[in-house]
């Protein structure tokens, strides 16, 4: 991209470039906090239409709690996305992890602590496999994780005999959803904690800076002494680990494992990740934007369901949101390029 040469004069002096810090312009503020305003408006509208169901504390708290699983999947997803890699196996990792817990705990009576450890280790292993194929054989991450994800789905169906397995140890359920703090299930706080960790990682660690450079310019990163392949593998392991953790939380949320559950998480997670990249820190995948987007999307869907619109609205909403979000982020990026 050529920086226009007409900007400088013969003696090398450069015209002052007008401030582009998005935080200090009206458009900047609109971009950064627009989604929060729209979200608030959505809550007001649904609240006015259905005051005695939508705006009840039980609805709000169960919504915050039950969607924590989706928040964790989305947070996992934005890590490799920042490094410019896709991980579409993450939802299948989640399902497999929850199924590993159910099978071991319910059918083989393995103590729940061990089950969780094994489930998380499975996630790490999948991340290593993804990273191996992507960085060693230079295969597009989308293809590798699509294949691995489908493979994992097969494994899930196999070990569960394609059945939902219920009866997971109540202690897990207790510490995920039953116990409440300030009236909200604990899993909400787990998700927020992970959000804080990812935010800290992205903003205040050398690793986070390196992930960003690898994603924005792999060659620049390499020439800056960053071991780009190692960073990419690390990101894929992190996303699979968070996928597995989401699986643990899923098993705790419903006390069971459903071999098909992954399907309904992948697209919403992508939609939230891309929508999140248009807010809070516009133009960049960011954990607060992603978390906010999950709840924004869920609010919209829940509200529409309460209005009596049938369940297919979920697909319409998530699918539409993904395309709109990607278009928006393209527009944000494109406008910056032109400036």
């Amino acid at each position: 991209m050529a920086v226009s040469s007409d900007r400088h004069t013969v003696d090398g002096a450069v015209e002052p470039v007008r401030g582009r810090d998005p935080g200090h312009t009206v458009i900047g503020y609109a971009e950064q906090y627009g989604l929060i305003v729209v979200w608030a408006a959505l809550i007001v509208v649904f609240g006015a239409l259905k005051p005695d169901t939508f705006l009840t504390w039980s609805n709000v708290s169960s919504l915050l709690g039950s969607q924590a699983v989706l928040v964790v999947v989305t947070l996992g997803l934005i890590i490799p996305l920042t490094a410019n890699d896709f991980d579409v196996s993450i939802a299948n990792v989640m399902t497999l992890s929850s199924m590993v817990i159910a099978v071991l705990n319910v059918l083989h009576h393995v103590p729940i602590g061990w089950c969780m450890l094994i489930a998380l280790a499975t996630g790490v292993l999948v991340g290593l496999v993804n990273g191996f194929f992507i960085t060693v054989f230079r295969i597009n991450s989308l293809i590798v994780t699509l294949g691995v994800g489908t493979f994992l789905h097969g494994v899930t169906l196999w070990i569960s005999d394609s059945m939902t397995i219920s009866g997971v140890a109540p202690v897990l359920v207790k510490y995920v959803i039953v116990t409440r703090l300030l009236g909200i299930p604990l899993e909400f706080y787990y998700a927020i904690f992970i959000c804080v960790v990812v935010w800290y990682l992205f903003e205040y660690t050398a690793v986070g800076r390196r992930i960003l450079f690898v994603g924005r310019g792999r060659e620049v990163a390499r020439l800056s002494g960053i071991r780009a392949d190692r960073v990419r593998r690390g990101c894929l392991v992190a996303s699979s680990f968070l996928g597995a953790l989401a699986g643990v939380m899923y098993a705790g949320t419903i006390g069971a494992a459903d071999p098909q559950s992954g399907l309904s998480y992948l697209l919403p997670a992508f939609a939230a990740a891309f929508l999140g990249a248009t807010t809070i820190v516009p133009g960049r995948f960011n954990p607060w934007g992603a978390t906010l987007s999950v709840y924004f999307l869920v609010t919209g869907i829940t509200g529409l369901t309460f209005l009596g619109i049938r369940t297919f609205v979920q697909e319409l909403f998530y699918g539409g949101a993904l395309v709109v979000a990607v278009t928006l982020s393209q527009l944000v990026g494109g406008r910056e390029e032109r400036l």
Binding site: V3, H8, D11, R209
Partner: protein, 521 residues
């Protein structure tokens, strides 16, 4: 018989600067006509006018086969007049087969159904046979040896030329734009045999080159451009290499004197030894603290690969790097190890290799020192911003606000940011690739000053560049490359813009004598 191409009085001005001034030349029917000149001599401007990329200044005339053609040409209009181009990159699609590449123009422009590939392959074989070539039409282009790839591109151009000029099927003008720099010497001869065959059939060829020897070998006549002006046209048979070099460089060249050895120097502080990889073969260079060593040569000579191989961003086959007492194996080397050894590279491609354009100046400046200057698990963002601001001021970056995105800066200021990014590490060895490419005059002086200062602080500096003036300004020693080896060395007072140019063109002569000598052994 009218001339194949006549150019009269052709000029092109870019923003007040004359890239081409009243150029005239004629190419006869069945002639191989060379077009020679240094970088910036107006060669590529002339070619781009013919290709229809540039509109020339009014007043020029262009005659093809005796018919006057209206200027400017539209892009691609040259096809209608039976002109065809083969550029250096050849324009082939490596993953497709030979036959698909050969007929790509036809397949793209005509609606054809039910293609019989069997028949197309036979047709391709027949075409190749006409030129005495034996290329498998079913092979993937990526699998062909480089010379066959070049031959395929040329044959395709000739066939398209015929296609475009149905009125006069045997005629046409083929423009070969530097097709040889990446071919081994032996293969160049094979390519020339093909060119001669094409001329036999009645076409004419314009052969654009840097390489005097190739022009001597293949052309009938050659026109030399210098600073946008036609310096003259020589009849090849009656001219010597010396005549050509003189005309290209623009002054009388004395025969090569023995250069005095630089005995004043102490033992080398650092050295590149036995480096092979890419074009380079067994390259050894001694380096000294405080010395700026320039690397240059013609395109394809390999000088520009040295910084990347020594930094480990491209992998070398063999070689080692000595820094003080330490010895590093360059065959097992990567940028992070190079940085740990206090070696830095400032790449030529600012936008794709130097910095991430969409991130801020501060982000870009601080990325190499994240774990050396800060605690990596608790970055002090405010201090990073302060540091970047301090460095931006020190290197005179305007505007000096480090929170601006990198791509809002001008080319010169971007280069200053890159210098700040790398020189903050106080490196022992600095590798530069075209450090002032696309940089304005003021910034150029700042870059030179920064390089001198780093040398003064005790760094050894290697600068690869094809900007002879820049090399003459900053270098203590200039090494001139030809076909992957150092062919000449200029030291101290012997370095000037003209002497570098002269040795670049003469260098190949000395090399070939040397090679013939070794082959005779």
């Amino acid at each position: 018989m009218p001339d194949a191409l006549v150019i009269e009085n052709l000029s092109k001005t870019f923003g007040g600067q004359r890239a081409l001034a009243r150029a005239s030349l004629e190419i006869m029917r069945r002639e191989v006509h060379g077009l020679l000149g240094q970088n910036g001599s107006g060669k590529s401007t002339l070619i781009k006018i013919l290709a229809g990329y540039y509109a020339p200044d009014p007043g020029g005339r262009l005659l093809i086969d005796g018919d006057q053609v209206e200027l400017p040409l539209e892009p691609g209009e040259f096809r209608r007049y039976g002109i065809s181009f083969v550029h250096q990159n050849l324009g082939l699609i490596p993953s497709l087969t030979v036959v698909e590449n050969l007929f790509v123009g036809e397949l793209a422009s005509r609606l054809r159904w039910g293609i019989s590939w069997e028949q197309e392959r036979r047709r391709a074989t027949a075409i190749f046979a006409k030129y005495g070539l034996n290329i498998d039409p079913a092979a993937a282009v990526a699998k062909l040896p480089s010379v066959q790839r070049a031959q395929l591109a040329i044959v395709r151009a000739v066939e398209e030329m015929r296609l475009g000029d149905r009125r006069r099927p045997a005629r046409g003008l083929l423009v070969l734009d530097e097709p040889t720099p990446f071919l081994p010497k032996r293969d160049v001869e094979e390519l020339f045999a093909l060119v001669r065959g094409i001329v036999q059939e009645g076409a004419s060829v314009m052969f654009v080159s840097h390489d005097v020897d190739e022009v001597l070998a293949i052309t009938d006549r050659a026109t030399v451009l210098r600073d946008g002006v036609v310096a003259g046209t020589l009849t090849t048979r009656e001219s010597t290499r010396q005549d050509f070099v003189e005309m290209i460089v623009g002054r009388r060249v004395e025969t090569v004197p023995a250069r005095p050895q630089d005995f004043g120097r102490e033992e080398a502080d650092a050295a590149i030894e036995g480096l092979s990889g890419g074009t380079l073969k067994d390259l050894s260079i001694d380096l000294h603290r405080g010395e700026v060593v320039g690397l240059t040569g013609l395109i394809g000579s390999g000088f520009d690969e040295v910084p990347y191989l020594v930094f480990g961003s491209r992998s070398a086959e063999a070689g080692c790097l000595k820094l003080g007492a330490a010895i590093y194996d360059l065959a097992d080397w990567d940028p992070s190890r190079a940085m740990a050894a206090n070696v830095v590279l400032i790449p030529g491609d600012r936008q794709n290799a130097g910095a991430v354009a969409s991130l801020t100046v501060a982000d870009n400046i601080t990325v190499p020192v994240l774990s050396t200057e800060y605690s990596p698990w608790m970055l002090n963002r405010r201090d990073m911003l302060r540091r970047a601001g301090r460095l931006a001021r020190q290197f005179d970056v305007t505007p000096g606000d480090p929170s601006l995105p990198f791509d809002t800066l001008s080319g010169g200021n971007q280069q200053k940011v890159l210098l700040a990014k790398w020189l903050q590490m106080r490196p022992n060895l600095i590798l530069l690739d075209e450090p002032t490419q696309g940089v304005d005059v003021g910034a150029r002086q700042k870059v030179f000053a920064a390089i001198k200062e780093a040398a003064g602080a005790g760094a050894a500096i290697v600068c690869a560049s094809s900007d002879y003036e820049q090399l003459a300004t900053i270098c203590d020693r200039v090494l001139i490359f030809g076909r992957g080896r150092v062919v000449s060395e200029l030291i101290g007072g012997a370095i000037s813009k003209e002497s570098i140019a002269e040795y670049c063109y003469l260098g190949l002569v000395r090399l070939e004598r040397g090679l013939e000598a070794t082959e005779a052994d």
